[in-house]
């Protein structure tokens, strides 16, 4: 039976580690092809629904005044949140010198990058005339007006652009030594392709010193960045005076929810990949255990926010706030979304207190799916409930998504899966360089690994 505490199973030599794990996707079986085709099909649906939206307009969505923001904004908030756990693992845990982050680092960073791609689609389409997106950028034009930079919606543009760019640079920087390893262990065309993308990395100590510092600097930048991004996303809501949105607890509440949902998505990805690619030696039960603990911790922060929000509404004495939090959300037409949120995000994660649950990969997988659902439902609930009860009861209405809304959401799930699976199939998804480094620091040169 495997050792539950180890970060690396057995004592593989550097050579074994490199050859087995540098591109583990190359050994993938038929499940990968099934997954790729399924995701490609859903991506096709995404392309069609984007084309339909752009050609016809966003009247094809379920958004009707008073509900101007529906699925699209909820999806945006959810997707961008998923990315945050990846940055947490790659940047914050790097600064905290947690060696266990190494093995799941690349999976988490890829998840971030591809989740941001999905997130970015929604505000772009929501513009209605997406081809005028450059109006959001301050460039000297004959219109002689500027974007309104005191609005959180323009801050969002800056936050998402910066987040996507920094995530990409960070991801690529870490990838370079592993691409060089792939180049040096492959032959033929694969070797040439990897050689180009490794950019001539040769493992020089002088270069490595710069690499480590560059990664540290980017981690230092990404840490406040990741907090700022979901803070700004929450400002989209909190800066307005809508009951249920206008709350100072929103920034920390959104950041905690984002990292919570991201850890759940990391588990959703890591559990099957670990099994299907045979990564049990580098992604051990210890990793799953630690991920589960972080999920539990962030779930508790989210639960605390769920309690504080209605309490503040009650304390404020404001009629509309109390109506929203104490009547509409728990008992209104969307009550099932509210109670599903509480069940999935507060009740379900409590199972993670049990060691036996944290050590059963497929139970963790099932829980992570429920949490993903819960967090998505929470975003929909937050976005929709506050709008469907306007200040004037004559304006009250109920929001229902159209088939285009649903197709867009399913499409982004497919596109995310497609990008992830292509990365898993072709790129060094396990950061072998970092694992070799970790191994050397934890287990210094022993007789077992010298020689070849």
């Amino acid at each position: 039976m495997e050792n539950a505490e180890a970060l690396l199973l057995g004592r593989p030599s550097d050579r074994e580690l490199t050859e087995r794990f540098v591109t583990p996707g190359a050994r993938a079986g038929g499940w990968l092809r099934v997954g790729l085709w399924t995701c490609a099909g859903l991506t096709g649906l995404l392309v069609l629904s984007i084309a339909y939206t752009v050609l016809t307009g966003i009247g094809t969505w379920g958004d009707r005044i008073p509900i101007g923001w529906g699925f699209a904004i909820a999806n945006f908030v959810w997707w961008i949140g998923i990315g945050h756990a990846g940055t947490f693992i790659s940047a914050i845990l790097l600064l905290l010198e947690q060696p266990w982050r190494s093995s799941i680092n690349r999976i988490a960073e890829s998840m971030t990058l591809f989740a941001v791609v999905q997130a970015g689609l929604f505000p772009l389409l929501h513009l209605g005339r997406a081809w005028f997106f450059y109006w959001l950028v301050p460039y000297p034009s004959t219109m002689e007006v500027w974007p309104q930079f005191t609005s959180p919606l323009t801050w969002d543009v800056g936050a998402i652009t910066t987040y996507a760019t920094i995530s990409l640079l960070f991801w690529y920087l870490g990838l370079i030594p592993d691409l060089a390893k792939a180049r040096d262990t492959k032959t033929g065309r694969a070797r040439k392709v990897f050689a180009v993308f490794a950019m001539g990395w040769r493992g020089s100590a002088r270069h490595a010193r710069h690499l480590k510092i560059a990664q540290l600097m980017l981690a230092g930048l990404a840490t406040p960045l990741v907090i700022s991004v979901h803070t700004i996303v929450s400002f989209d809501f909190a800066v307005g005076v809508t009951p249920g949105w206008h709350s100072t607890v929103f920034p920390p509440y959104f950041v905690a929810g984002a990292i919570f949902s991201g850890f759940a998505m990391t588990l959703t990805l890591v559990v099957p990949l670990r099994r299907w690619l045979g990564l049990e030696a580098v992604i051990t039960r210890r990793h799953l255990d630690l991920l589960a603990k972080l999920t539990l911790a962030t779930s508790l922060i989210v639960a605390y926010a769920y309690v504080v929000e209605p309490f503040l509404a009650w304390l404020s004495g404001a009629h509309f706030e109390r109506h929203m939090y104490l009547e509409v959300r728990p008992f209104g037409p969307y009550a099932f979304l509210f109670w599903l949120t509480v069940a999935c995000n507060v009740a379900v994660p409590q199972a993670l207190w049990l060691r036996r649950v944290r050590h059963s990969p497929w139970v963790l997988f099932a829980l992570s799916i429920l949490i993903n659902v819960g967090m998505w439902v929470e975003r929909v609930m937050l976005v929709v409930t506050s709008q469907h009860r306007d200040f004037l009861p004559s304006s009250w209405d109920v929001y229902l998504p159209s088939w285009v809304d649903t197709s867009l959401f399913l499409g982004t799930l497919g596109f995310f899966g497609l990008l992830m699976l292509l990365t898993v199939r072709h790129l060094p998804i396990i950061p072998v360089t970092e694992i070799v480094e970790m191994k050397r620091e934890e287990l210094p040169d022993g007789p077992a690994e010298e020689g070849a």
């Binding site: 040769r202 100590a205 490595a208 930048l221």
Partner: protein, 178 residues
């Protein structure tokens, strides 16, 4: 490092010992190829600290300053908009974009600075011509001595490297016999 001598070892410990020996003998232009970055190796080679943090800092400062300037000029000077009598110069509303731009510029400067500092991308390098050098990214540890080093003398340096019990000593770069 365009040409010089290399010595190949089977463990990081042996590389570190050899690097220290050569440092003690007065060699300064040394480098190493290792499968993964190692502080121990960098210390043995007495490599200078990377100055990239200054690049990051400068990038972030320039980005932040430019962003604030742009926000101030567009919102306060060129097209002021009176919304409900709010202040003409709402600096708190400029904080998020100033911060985001500082991070963006700092990050891009770090990334570009890293490549400039390393002299990459460089798809061909004399070292890639050495047979079996691929293993330096798997499980071999290679010490490099630059031919430009003032103490470098082909036969003497080779003899000194031989004393450190490497798997092999070889030369790389143009104009050097194997």
């Amino acid at each position: 490092m365009r040409r010089g001598l290399l010595a190949e070892y089977e463990s990081q410990g042996a590389l570190v010992e050899a690097a220290k020996t050569l440092r003690d003998a007065g060699y300064r232009r040394l480098d190493a190829l290792t499968p993964s970055p190692s502080d121990e190796v960098c210390d043995a080679l007495a490599l200078p600290r990377s100055r990239l943090p200054f690049v990051t800092g400068a990038g972030a400062a320039i980005g932040g300053a430019l962003a604030y300037l742009l926000l101030w000029w567009t919102q306060v000077v060129d097209y002021p908009l009176n919304v409900g009598g709010r202040p003409d110069h709402p600096w708190p509303a400029f904080v998020p974009l100033t911060f985001e731009t500082a991070v963006l510029f700092g990050g891009v400067a770090t990334f570009v600075g890293f490549f400039v500092a390393c002299g990459l991308p460089r798809l061909w390098h004399p070292l890639f011509e050495v047979d079996g050098i691929e293993r330096a990214s798997v499980d071999r540890f290679v010490l490099l001595v630059d031919a430009e080093d003032p103490r470098f003398e082909a036969t003497e340096t080779r003899a000194r490297l031989d004393e450190t019990a490497p798997r092999r000593v070889a030369s790389f770069g143009e104009g050097e016999g194997a």
